[in-house]
Assembly symmetry: C2
Homo-oligomer: 172 residues x 2
Amino acid sequence: MKGIQMADTPLLRDLLRTNTDYAEVFDRSKLVIPPAKKLAIVACMDARLTVEEFLGLRTGDAHIIRNAGGIVTEDAVRSLIISHELLGTREFLVINHTDCGMLTFKDKDLQDKLTKKTGVNAAKVNFHAFGDLEENVRTQVERIRTNPFLPKDIPVTGFVYDVRSGKLNRVT
Amino acid sequence: MKGIQMADTPLLRDLLRTNTDYAEVFDRSKLVIPPAKKLAIVACMDARLTVEEFLGLRTGDAHIIRNAGGIVTEDAVRSLIISHELLGTREFLVINHTDCGMLTFKDKDLQDKLTKKTGVNAAKVNFHAFGDLEENVRTQVERIRTNPFLPKDIPVTGFVYDVRSGKLNRVT
């Protein structure tokens, strides 16, 4: 692309060095596409959630879908359909967490900020900010349970992960 | 919810037992919301990608956004905006991978399968299946670079992760 230079940052160099070390000892080359535990998880993108680690999941065990808030958006549903229909997952988890950034703002504030900053109207961008954590988990679980393209009989469990204690607290 | 029983599966019990152990030795209670490395990553949900591990990222370092394919969907853009505007990330990575399930089907096949199975017309569900891995990475990076609500000057790098070797191969 004209005018676009390849990024070259200290962070990028660090990450690539680490990956070279990782690849040198890599021993999971025989893993197959379908997740070994037939599990798919929708969780928040928050940096303090290392989802595989706090659930004891190993590489190859589960599909991990993550976005701001751990919201069952249209895109998360797309991923869950592919996960279930094509790759055989049979159990879903939804994981939100305490101290979530999504509790700290209102959609309208961010829309106004963006519109002002970019000159492009951001009023239609739905950010899915929320005010009640447990209620939000219930809403996301309900979205999965009522989606016409996701199976009715699949177990779906909703949690709040506590970033202070590392503990998952069950909501649904 | 009437008629909905709480899920209780052997897998769920295993995961919760593991989490109890995790919480017992948990020592990251002082991490703050903004990612320490000011980094956000869009990657595929594939079970074989333990993103934090193959990049040497620790809990608290980076926002991890994941969906089927590692696609910069409207929802991934939503997450990136929140990540940058509210939580200060200043560098983005896009990570697709070899042997991706998204290379194995066409949107129309899955739409037809779902329509037939559920009786609800799935013709408008965009699954974002793709045929060329490197081209797909370039498309996703370009979507970030051209989105009016994401900053023009942020470094964005695209990779293909090799699930046989554990190696990240740079595309952009």
